[in-house]
């Protein structure tokens, strides 16, 4: 579920890929984890509102967030984090997202498109089924409209989907990296998702010959929230 927060026209400077801490001021539900959580920012700089996207887990925080009346105020701190695009636009970027780990990449990709960047961006988006893949339609539209952006969405359980899936099926393994992710020597690789997905994919990249110094990782905020 996506949530939009107005920032009252105040400047809020952040780099795509960074996160914020949201504190609920008067939550309907409470638990021992408190009233604050960290989220990657899914919108891009310059938008009038700030967007986060999260799976609704049923936690006290998320139930309170979902039940906030429209127009409610929250406290927002940040931005935090150093997971953002390398400054060198000549180096292609390869994003590998697992599930809701897509949020920092949505921000990066949208920002690059708005800036008319010529940096080559490839997104490998890993999910069980198309229904699980947040922002998939939007990302596919961006690919059609932007020659610098390419998406490879891959589903591991497409046969259990109610939708017809004509795209790639299967895992990201070393053969996939060698076959599909060109410019391996020049690219910088960014991996985001749940912790064990991130470590497994970083390991796959290293075994496929990617220099470890060219792999950036981000275990997404909100896991366990």
């Amino acid at each position: 579920m996506a949530f939009w927060f107005g920032i009252d026209g105040q400047p809020f400077v952040f780099k795509p890929g960074q996160c914020i801490r949201i504190t609920l001021l008067d939550p309907l539900y409470e638990d021992k984890k408190g009233n604050a959580r960290d989220f990657s920012i899914a919108s891009s700089p310059g938008e009038p509102s700030l967007m986060i996207a999260t799976r609704m887990t049923g936690s006290a925080f998320k139930r309170s967030l979902a039940n906030l009346p429209l127009g409610s105020s929250v406290q927002m701190n940040g931005p935090y984090g150093d997971f953002f695009l390398d400054a060198d636009p000549m180096r292609p970027a390869v994003f590998l997202a697992g599930g809701i780990g897509i949020t920092p990449f949505r921000s990066m990709i949208k920002h690059a498109i708005k800036q008319h960047s010529e940096q080559r961006l490839t997104l490998v988006y890993c999910n069980r089924t198309p229904e699980d893949a947040a922002f998939l339609d939007e990302l596919q539209n961006w690919e059609r409209e932007n020659p610098s952006f390419h998406i490879i969405a891959t589903m591991t359980q497409a046969r259990n989907s109610g939708k017809t899936w004509m795209g790639r099926r299967g895992y990201v393994d070393t053969q996939f990296v060698k076959n599909h992710l060109r410019d391996q020597a020049q690219s910088i690789y960014y991996v985001a998702g749940p912790p064990r997905f991130v470590s497994a994919v970083a390991d796959v990249l290293a075994r496929a010959g990617v220099n470890k110094g060219d792999i950036r990782t981000d275990e997404f905020f909100g896991y366990g929230a």
Binding site: T57, G58, I100, T156, P194
Partner: protein, 62 residues
């Protein structure tokens, strides 16, 4: 028969282990499943046939 990838039942067992390790917090089934898949896929191929299915594993931990 050569098995290249873990079966759905083996992934289910691993996802359930992750759920237990997280303290049985609900709502992260998609993340647990994705993590289970990638944990098992990174195993050496010869290890995969040795993994318990969910039903076999559940009977062991009962």
């Amino acid at each position: 028969m050569r098995i290249d990838y873990p079966t759905r039942d083996q992934i289910r067992a691993q996802a359930y282990r992750i759920y237990l390790q997280r303290g049985c917090q609900p709502g992260h089934d998609m993340d647990d499943w994705l993590q289970a898949e990638y944990e098992l896929v990174r195993l050496p191929l010869h290890k995969i046939p040795q993994l318990h299915s969910f039903s076999a594993w559940a009977s062991l931990v009962r």
